[in-house]
Amino acid sequence: VNYKNKNNLADQLLVDKVLHGDTSVFKAIMKNTEGLVAQIIFKMIPGVEDRKDIAQDIYLKTFQKLGSFKFQSKLSTWVAQIAYNTCINHLEKKKLILLNNYNDGEEPDGETLEKQNNEIDPFSNETEKFIFKKELSEILKIEINKLSPVYKILITLYHTEELNYAEIAEITELPEGTVKNYLFRARKVLRDNLLLTYKKEAL
């Protein structure tokens, strides 16, 4: 991604100042990227006490490697890449599962689909829709947390942080096609699990 615009100039200015010894400017870089880094850490690191150390580690690495940043991407994307790699390394060290093999199952035929939708249609009337929307946030939070770290972070980067496929591919160092495929599967698993939970709660 050849990234050239005024944000890039702002990034360049900040990086130059830090490289010329003004470490206080590093705070501005942190402020600009902290939200994205927090998303990555919170979604990928289950241990609350580990998050503080990892967050510091990420920014210390960013500072040490700042001289090698080539402005080929946004600074935030580059910092997010460091954050993602640090989290992956941490999970690998702890031997935690990065990616579950979710069984997508076969696509249901027309009759099964109709039956499923009749059984679990949270939109049959406006009141139900309103209640479902209110409950959705809590159920969704739980269901997202049940996903594997890689799926969780892909869903968050695409839907919450509104990054495009190319940026996500750059952060995760996965091919764009793999990102699209994992995202599709993660959304499907989430939808299926949500409907299952809703069905259980409705009973």
Partner: protein, 149 residues
Amino acid sequence: MTNKHLNDAEIQQYVLQKTNCDTDIIEHIQHCRNCKIKAEQYNLLFEGIKQQEKPVFDFNLADLVVAQLPKSQHKVSNEKSFFYFIIFIAIISVCIVFYLFANNLLNLFQGIARISIGLIIITGASLLVFLCIDMYRTYQIQIKTLNFY
């Protein structure tokens, strides 16, 4: 319009990129209750994800990190100066050797057959390439061990 129910990939595409969607898909969803419900479920799911609360650190990360940074960083410029210094020394050394021993070096190669010179150059170049590759691999392994990035 397609009469077959849409699969999840098509429905996700419809919800996320309606403008780039195939007209067959759009028409099918408009006429099929099941696929419409499924699309609405996905729509609600995406809205729900978007509205999820953004996490925030319960400590001042910037202060913690800045406190650990060195006061000034001249590391990069020092590294660059050192690199240019090495290049300068290397060029000067080669020039001195050629200045002092140019005749001797020429005589050295005049006494050897061309094929031998070729062999020496090829062997030397191969060894250089091999050593460079080996050095690069060792460097990568060391960086990975350091878990630097």
